[in-house]
């Protein structure tokens, strides 16, 4: 029972981690902000989770930029593919 009352005010760890994720991608409502801060203030585990979530977020952002700028195809492959795309398009759109 006590747990239930406490959870009403300061959320469970499961809900808190949800808010931690949500905060990375959108802004929280004032109540959510308060709930998150209060929970983090008293919970070592979730604070630690938050650090790791922030780090993962940075990794994923970074990975994305790198992956998009990296060349996964050689120049020759790229040129061959361009030709292939054109030929295939002509074949599909102007059937003989």
């Amino acid at each position: 029972m006590l747990k239930k009352i406490i959870h009403f005010f300061i959320l469970s760890c499961k809900k808190t981690t949800f808010l931690i994720e949500k905060k990375l991608h959108t802004s929280l409502s004032p109540l959510e902000k308060l709930q998150l801060q209060t929970h983090l203030y008293i919970c070592k585990n979730c604070t630690s989770y938050k650090h790791k979530a922030d780090f993962l977020n940075q990794l994923l952002t970074d990975e994305q930029t790198k992956a998009l700028n990296e060349n996964h195809f050689t120049e020759k492959e790229m040129n061959d593919l361009k030709e292939k795309f054109k030929v295939e398009l002509r074949r599909k759109t102007h059937p003989i």
């Binding site: 469970s12 949800f18 949500k22 585990n45 979530a53 993962l56 952002t61």
Partner: protein, 192 residues
């Protein structure tokens, strides 16, 4: 007022689009699908669809965004076709008890605590590889949600619409994926 007539997207102009945009589209497709053949197939389809809808492109300058939009739709279709399992059924039992508290307290295991050492980790190729492997091990539909999330500058609405899920389901999915990623990194890197 002098309004320039829109030049019609002739076949020659369209071939120029292929010439100038294939490069970026292929790399993006590879990022989303992690596979060369799939990336080639999907980009081929993008051009075929784009050609059939070429009258909807109002400005050649916005061709890149237009083609990317078609690519994302195609990629999502590809995932939907392959992995028909519903993606909303996300299970948290492994991590939390009925009260929603952490089951294991190993979460407090420190990784590298100072911000500096984390930066060093970002540049560590072995660590990166280990992280990619973890990302690849996620269920395919979670993976695509994460990748689209970061591609769209993390705008939830658009992604949810593309994946046909609710926003809450989407946050939960990201939460669950990251719990998994954290665990995987912990096992494969920090505990070694």
């Amino acid at each position: 007022m002098n309004i320039k007539p829109q030049p019609e997207l002739t076949d020659t102009l369209f071939e120029e689009l292929i010439e100038s945009h294939s490069h970026k589209l292929l790399n993006r497709a590879f990022y989303l699908l992690s596979n060369k053949e799939d990336a080639e197939d999907v980009v081929q389809e993008v051009f075929i669809v784009a050609y059939s809808r070429r009258d909807t492109l109002h400005n050649v300058l916005s061709a890149e965004a237009w083609l990317q939009g078609i690519l994302h739709n195609k990629v999502v279709d590809m995932y939907k076709e392959r992995y028909r399992k519903p993606m909303v059924n996300i299970n948290f039992e492994h991590y939390f008890d009925q009260n929603g508290e952490w089951k294991q307290t190993d979460i407090t295991n420190v990784w590298e605590e100072t911000p500096d050492s984390l930066d060093t980790l970002l540049d560590n190729t072995d660590f990166r590889q280990s992280f990619y492997d973890c990302l690849d091990k996620l269920p395919p539909r979670w993976k695509i949600a994460i990748k689209l999330c970061y591609l769209h500058g993390q705008k939830a609405g658009k992604i949810c619409h593309e994946l046909e899920i609710t926003t809450t389901a989407y946050w939960k999915l990201l939460q669950r994926s990251r719990l998994q990623l954290r665990k995987c990194i912990e096992i494969n890197w920090f505990d070694k």
